[in-house]
């Protein structure tokens, strides 16, 4: 990851130039939470360097060629009484020159391209956190097989550790894209009997703590636009405690069983019992795993694992803040909140059920 001072300087200059231009165009400062131009990981920095190399060459070519064009337009415009210009048909020397020069420039683009291909498309050199990413219409499932965590839409990773994603889809093609951290890869459907498993890899090491947004980037149906995602980079300690919390009742840990002590504490809690009753009678269980319910250990359900909904910052695949009122609205009218989504309730919920469910879901951090 060593970068020569010259390259760093150049990259910053480019960025400054581009951003400067942008500010000029935009006329006001904007926040870009999903930009590719402010890379925040090893791999996106590699890509950014490469991209900036191509941008610089493009700028050079652009200026020279458009310059020549515009010059010719002004210099050679006809004036009244012009004689017929000299009827040149070609000039082998210049034709050879302007075939060779672009070829040389392309070589300057091609060499770093191939180098970067080699660096970025090989399997993760040093994977430290393994995550399985599964695309669903229109939400993301994340499984941490070694840590025993199953969550949705918000990928939580520790800073400075190489995260290795293995990605596939449960239905149609999607593309997992986190611009600042990892660039993107398509995810392909895999069914139980698929033979050549097209599991796409992607790896990155985040270099600073923070929230990064991203989005599905392959048309996947009606709510493709709202198949957002978020990568939350935590310090190592925060990540550890997050994992410990998420492991409670995770489908990957003893089939979702929770410790007897927790279980009895919940049984004594009316928010929990009322909510769970609504969860069962409202039909949620058909599609969602939820800690403490009989299907807590189930994988491959239609909807996200709701066991720790309270701990997530958004609902509906990075569509809405996870606030009580938004959650209530979501349960009142999921189709109105996200038209066409696969969350179709068997029957409308009563307001009482909704508030019970909201409290119940939010209590499980």
């Amino acid at each position: 990851m060593e970068r020569s001072p010259g390259r760093v300087w150049r990259a910053w200059l480019t960025r400054a130039g581009l951003l400067g231009l942008l500010v000029l165009i935009a006329g006001c400062s904007q926040n870009y939470h999903q930009t590719t131009l402010l890379p925040r990981s090893d791999i996106t920095r590699l890509i950014d360097d490469l991209f900036m190399t191509t941008v610089w060459w493009a700028v050079v070519v652009f200026v020279l060629v458009e310059g020549a064009l515009v010059y010719a337009l002004f210099r050679f415009r006809s004036r009244p009484g012009d004689p017929e210009p000299e009827q040149t048909h070609g000039n082998t020397t210049v034709e050879i020159i302007w075939t060779v020069i672009p070829a040389v420039i392309l070589a300057f683009i091609a060499v770093p391209t191939v180098k970067t291909i080699v660096k970025t498309s090989l399997p993760a050199p040093n994977p430290q956190v393994d995550v399985e990413v599964i695309g669903h219409q229109w939400w993301w499932e994340y499984r941490y097989p070694k840590l025993g965590v199953v969550t949705a839409n918000e990928l939580v990773v520790p800073v400075g550790k190489m995260v290795n994603l293995r990605m596939w889809s449960a239905d149609v093609l999607h593309s997992w894209w986190s611009p600042q951290l990892a660039s993107k890869r398509d995810v392909f459907p895999i069914f139980n009997n698929t033979r050549d498993k097209k599991i796409n890899p992607l790896w990155f090491t985040a270099d600073s703590v923070g929230d990064y947004s991203g989005q599905c980037a392959e048309l996947c149906g009606i709510q493709h636009a709202r198949m957002g995602l978020r990568v939350i980079v935590k310090s190592e300690a925060d990540f550890e405690s997050w994992v410990a919390k998420e492991r409670v009742g995770s489908p990957l840990v003893e089939g979702g069983k929770v410790a007897a002590a927790i279980d009895s504490a919940w049984k004594a809690d009316t928010v929990h019992t009322k909510g769970q009753a609504a969860f069962m009678s409202g039909g949620c269980i058909a599609c969602h795993a939820m800690v403490g319910t009989p299907l807590a250990g189930a994988l491959n359900l239609r909807g996200p694992n709701l066991s720790h909904t309270g701990g997530r910052t958004t609902i509906g695949a990075n569509m809405y803040e996870n606030t009580p009122s938004m959650l209530a609205q979501w349960l009142r009218d999921p189709q109105g909140m996200k038209q066409g989504s696969h969350m179709v309730l068997p029957r409308p919920l009563t307001e009482a059920e909704i508030s019970a469910l909201v409290a119940y879901l939010r209590m499980h951090q």
Partner: protein
């Protein structure tokens, strides 16, 4: 003289067919009239595609737009892309192929005039067919490249909101299949015409550059369309007969669709741009008063682009993860194409260099095309770098790229052709004042609309999103783009005004208003039915300039002759009948999931088609 067996005793039918009126257009086999039909139809569809774009732009003017539903938006960009490409740019190119290939090579018609009529009618019916989907409420919504398995019926989930797979994608599949037949028929016709009907003396390396580029386009059409035909057949089978060509649950592979589509799709983009390149290569020399610089290099760069263009398709698929070797191969192959394209750009500048430039509207559009295509080409080279493309693919950065090459390239080139050739086609010169306003507004509007897309893409805006949330910094640039789109609308409204104004004005165009270099300028405007009373003899790639020099700098205005002794092929309605039969046959495939006896209609359409083809084959053509 030997004649074909198929018209054994051709009666000497006198020319008593009506030359005007509805029926004369329905039965016409005149390449010029068919060209005009193509042009008018395609322009209407271009406007429809433009209106679809404008609705999208309105939806995206601000965050969380509510103008259209999400599924309507999906239909809008699918139909916008499909319409612009298959019903806009391709048939607009066919407009110029039809009208000007025979004129530029000194021929009286194309080799197979009735086949020509057939391709137009099939195109028209296919275009209507695919747009009927809006009327029945099932417009295609799987994107213009219809990626499986989203487009495979089994993957369209049946929820309470959307019970059974609709006909949306079926319209697209069958519609493209119909349009493909039209394209192949037309391509075969022009291909043979260019090979075989060149005037005496017109060797291959004396053909006008527009004819050369058109020639290459026909080859690309002939070789690329069969591939998408097969892909569409597979998709249709997956949708209707439970096969698994692109379905993983049966062992199939959705990536195979992508391969087949882009093996067609990449040559297709050169099908879209080369006619514009050809037009620019006609217009720039004429208004520089200098022959095209580097003619031979222009020819061979075109051939090279087309040939290599068959080996780069996977640059649309870097995100599928093909592995380092394939990535490297397709990346390098793609970059190589920049070299011959650069040769073209430089030769155009070389043509301008040292010339005496007249900035007519046609010239402005041609120069604009060169200037804007460079921008699109350079972003293309950025996509060609696979790791970088992983950040760009499926974002507005790509949308910026292809609008620069398609709008800045193809549409500008075609507009240059329209202004350049209008007097030849209609005998009237378009208004230059309005024309220049059209150009400048289009140029400004186009950059306002599409330049900010580069930034949006790099800042993380994916394409094909019906809306975007606030707070990601997308608002302002999207607003600018929408404003830009309206500037383009204004520009094209001016163009329409110009057309109407010119239409109502007098037919005053001389045979050669621009001092053109090629054969079409040696005959009256508009040309007579038989084009050339006598076959011209050609001694160079600028025959009209030769004639002009030989005449000492002034050529007399060509006179109209009676042409009674020149036999032109008879009009015929069998091409239209055959096209109808074909459309019935293809449409019946829409019913497979709806009606058990769908094949009755297939058989009916096939019978109709065969009957028409036989009548066509045995029809006397009057000579």
């Amino acid at each position: 003289m030997a004649t074909s067996v198929l018209e054994h005793k051709a009666p000497a039918i006198p020319h008593h067919y009506p030359k005007t009126g509805f029926w004369s257009w329905i039965t016409t086999v005149d390449h010029k009239r068919i060209g005009i039909l193509y042009g008018a139809t395609a322009f209407i569809f271009f406007l429809i595609g433009g209106i679809e774009a404008v609705i999208m732009r309105l939806q995206l003017i601000g965050p969380n737009g509510k103008l259209v539903d999400p599924d309507t938006f999906n239909a809008l960009f699918t139909m916008h892309g499909t319409t612009m490409i298959f019903l806009g740019v391709m048939p607009l190119s066919a407009f110029f192929f039809n009208f000007f290939i025979p004129l530029q090579i000194g021929a009286r018609d194309v080799v197979f005039p009735r086949l020509n009529a057939f391709s137009y009618w099939v195109f028209l019916l296919g275009a209507i067919f695919i747009n009927v989907s809006f009327l029945v409420g099932a417009p295609p919504d799987g994107g213009w490249f219809g990626y499986a398995n989203l487009t495979s019926a089994r993957m369209i989930p049946s929820t309470a909101a959307a019970p059974a797979p609709g006909l949306n994608i079926d319209f697209w599949v069958i519609g493209l299949q119909i349009l493909g037949i039209a394209s192949i028929a037309a391509a075969l016709n022009f291909f043979v015409t260019i090979i075989n009907l060149r005037a005496p003396g017109m060797t291959l390396l004396r053909m006008p550059m527009f004819v050369w580029m058109s020639f290459i386009v026909q080859i690309l059409l002939l070789l690329a369309f069969p591939v998408i035909t097969v892909a569409l057949v597979f998709l249709m089978m997956d949708r209707n007969f439970g096969t698994s060509f692109f379905m993983p649950d049966g062992g199939g592979d959705p990536v195979m669709w992508q391969h087949l589509f882009w093996i067609f799709g990449h040559p297709e983009v050169y099908i879209l741009i080369l006619p514009a390149f050809g037009i620019a290569s006609e217009v720039l020399p004429v208004f520089s008063r200098k022959p095209l610089f580097g003619y031979t290099a222009m020819v061979f760069s075109g051939v090279f682009i087309a040939f290599v263009g068959f080996g780069v398709w996977s640059h649309h698929m870097f995100a599928t993860g093909m592995g380092p070797f394939a990535d490297t191969f397709f990346s390098l192959a793609t970059m190589v194409i920049a070299i011959p394209t650069g040769v073209k750009i430089f030769n155009w500048i070389g043509t301008l260099w040292g010339g005496s430039l007249r900035f007519t509207t046609a010239m402005l559009f041609a120069v604009g095309m060169v200037a804007l295509f460079i921008v699109g080409g350079l972003s293309g080279v950025m996509h060609a770098s696979p790791p970088a493309d992983l950040q760009q693919t499926d974002t507005y950065f790509i949308v910026a790229h292809f609008h620069y090459v398609l709008f800045g390239g193809s549409i500008f080139g075609l507009a240059a052709g329209a202004y350049y050739w209008w007097p030849k086609i209609f005998g009237r010169l378009l208004d230059e004042k309005l024309g220049k306003a059209h150009f400048w507004l289009t140029f400004i509007g186009m950059n306002l609309t599409f330049f900010p897309m580069h930034y949006l893409g790099l800042h993380g805006m994916p394409r094909r999103v019906y809306t975007y949330p606030e707070g990601l910094g997308f608002e302002f640039l999207n607003q600018v783009e929408t404003v830009g789109a309206f500037v383009i609308v204004l520009a094209f409204l001016l163009f329409i005004v110009n057309i109407i104004k010119t239409w109502m004005g007098p037919a005053n165009a001389p045979a050669d208003p621009w001092h053109g270099a090629t054969l079409e300028w040696s005959i009256p405007s508009p040309p007579q039915e038989f084009n050339f009373p006598n076959l011209p003899r050609v001694g160079s790639s600028v025959p009209q300039w030769d004639a002009w020099r030989a005449a000492g700098g002034k050529l007399p205005e060509p006179v109209r002759v009676s042409g009674d002794d020149i036999h032109m092929p008879n009009p015929s309605y069998w091409p239209l009948m055959a096209a109808i039969g074909l459309t019935i046959l293809m449409s019946s495939l829409m019913l497979i999931r709806q009606w058990d006896y769908w094949y009755a209609i297939t058989l009916f359409g096939t019978a109709w088609l065969f009957f028409s083809v036989y009548r066509w084959a045995f029809e006397p053509t009057g000579h």
